[in-house]
Structures are given as C-alpha cells and as structure tokens.
Amino acid sequence: MQHRENRLLAILPQETLALLEPDLKEISPVQGSVFLEPGETIDRIYFPQSGMISLLVVSRDGDMVEVSTVGREGALGLHRGLGGRRSFTRATVQIPGRFSTIAAHAFERVSLSTPSIRDMIAHYTETLWAEAQQLAACNAVHDASSRLCRWLLQSADHINGLQLPLTQEFLAQMLGVRRTTVTLLAQELQKRGAVKYSRGKVTILSRRMLEDGACECYEVIKDQRLALKLGVNW
C-alpha cells in the first residue's frame, strides 16, 4: 500500500507511520461519495493519495458552496486526533482516487502518545486557517477568470495530474458564479490554448498560461503548503 503518496503521511518519521500502519486501510471511492455531513461525528480520517475531496457548506435552502478542497497534501478530519470532533461541512469525493483511511479511535490513540503527529495536526490546521483567510479575500476582490485559473492549478496540484474530471456546473458552484459565466471563461482559456475542455473534463495544456492568468493567491497558498510539506518551523 502506498500510504506515503499522501504528503502528510510522507513527512512522518518511519517509526511513527509504523504505529498507524496496522490500522490504515486503502479505499477507492467513486465520485460523489459522501464522507461526512455537517454536524456528524468524525469517525474516520482520510488521507488522499490521489483524487480530491471537496468541503461544502450547505445553506438552509439547499444551495452548496465549496469552501475548501483536500488533496494529497492534506487530510480530512485530521484534528479528530486531538479528541472527539464534529464536521462543520459536507465532505464529498470530487475527483476519485486512492485514499488511505484510519478509524478515528485508532488514530487518536496513536496521536495522543506521539508528539510528531500532534505537531502535524497543529501545523496542518494552521495551514487550513491561513488558506481559508486567503480564499475569503480572494472571493471578494479577485475576478472570476483569475479565480478559475487559480482553482484549476490547485486541483491539478491536488491530484498530481493535468486531466480534471470536473463539470462546468461544479466549477460554477466552486467560484460562486453562473454556469454560463464559467462556460464563456473556459472558452476564452481554450481559445488561448491554455486548456482543452470536453463534457465533464478539463485538460490543462499550459500550466504557464494558467499561472499568468491566476491571481497571486495560487502562489501564496502553494507556498504555505510547501512550508508544511518541508516541515518549516516545526
């Protein structure tokens, strides 16, 4: 099993990962699988090796907005290692892939006796907090095209690939704009040669063009994640 494909598990010392390994399983859920609903008790932690999890806030009238994504550099429910926790959001599989997963009680048992895991939880939580702040500002002040470029690049990094099985309806929900707006912006990117899109799939042809088109938030968030990966300031 390839648990170290997940960047958080990869930075743990071998002897620490060995404590988790007897309880780690590997699963390959289908697109749309729901791992958590708002208010539910977190009973498993998920570490994507590939694929991507979306965290969605569901409004009272049923509208959903994506507020964060979790890929191979992160984990879903990691803070559960510090004790019983409930989920704030719905968590669904947006891009299918392989996920390492562990029961919450097993993870908590190891984490409570292992400082390096508690450090990982603290630093990852800090990174998510920084990312949420950056994205709140981004959604308020940056244009839809820059945010689309930023989002495509982040998703490609999450799954470590250039083919994104994402519908325009989903991208619109993600960016908080009409589906028509996303279609017109995607057409523009396609005319420029940055992406190619067909029904339900976006293929990145030029990362550089998307990087030129993206707001600075892409680099800021990437640097924060890189700092976590390298264990800077640990």
């Binding site: 244009d143 839809a144 707006t181 017109l184 523009e188 005319k191």
Partner: protein, 83 residues
C-alpha cells in the same frame, strides 16, 4: 422551459453552446445581465480586447437573436449594473 444561448461577439465569437433553460425572455435578459456583471467584475476585457469591443447576445434554439447589448455598458461602474 425554453433554452437560451448566450454569446459574446467581437470579430470572433465566444459561445455558450449548451444553452440554459429559463422560464421566459425576461429571465434570459436578467441572466445575461448577471453573467455580464460576473464577467466584467474587475476585468478590462476578454482575449486582449476591451469590453467596449464585445457584445453580449442571447439567441433561441434556431439561432435567432432575441436581444443584445454592449458589454462596455458594464465597465467602470461600482456595481457593474448599467442604468
């Protein structure tokens, strides 16, 4: 519900070829205006051409133009909403 198709026109065309189902032409006009607001928010134009060079048009399934307006109307307005 009828389907409406939203286009941006300059010397070339950027098209929403899938179309969007909406109750009537009033709803299509409001949708077009909202899309125009979202496109022009904090941006100068598309494909290196200023918004003043682009026209938004709404067509029916037969390609007949039902309404059109210049995107330049949405530029440099704090709310992005033309009068």
């Amino acid at each position: 519900m009828p389907k409406y198709y939203f286009y941006l026109l300059d010397s070339e065309e950027v098209a929403d070829s899938d179309g969007t189902e909406l109750p009537d032409l009033d709803a299509a006009r409001e949708h077009a205006r909202q899309v125009a607001r979202e496109l022009t928010f904090k941006r100068d134009g598309m494909l290196q051409r200023n918004w003043s060079q682009w026209t938004m048009s709404v067509r029916d399934i037969d390609g007949q133009v039902l309404l059109s307006f210049p995107l330049g109307d949405f530029e440099n307005r704090p709310t992005g909403i033309p009068d």
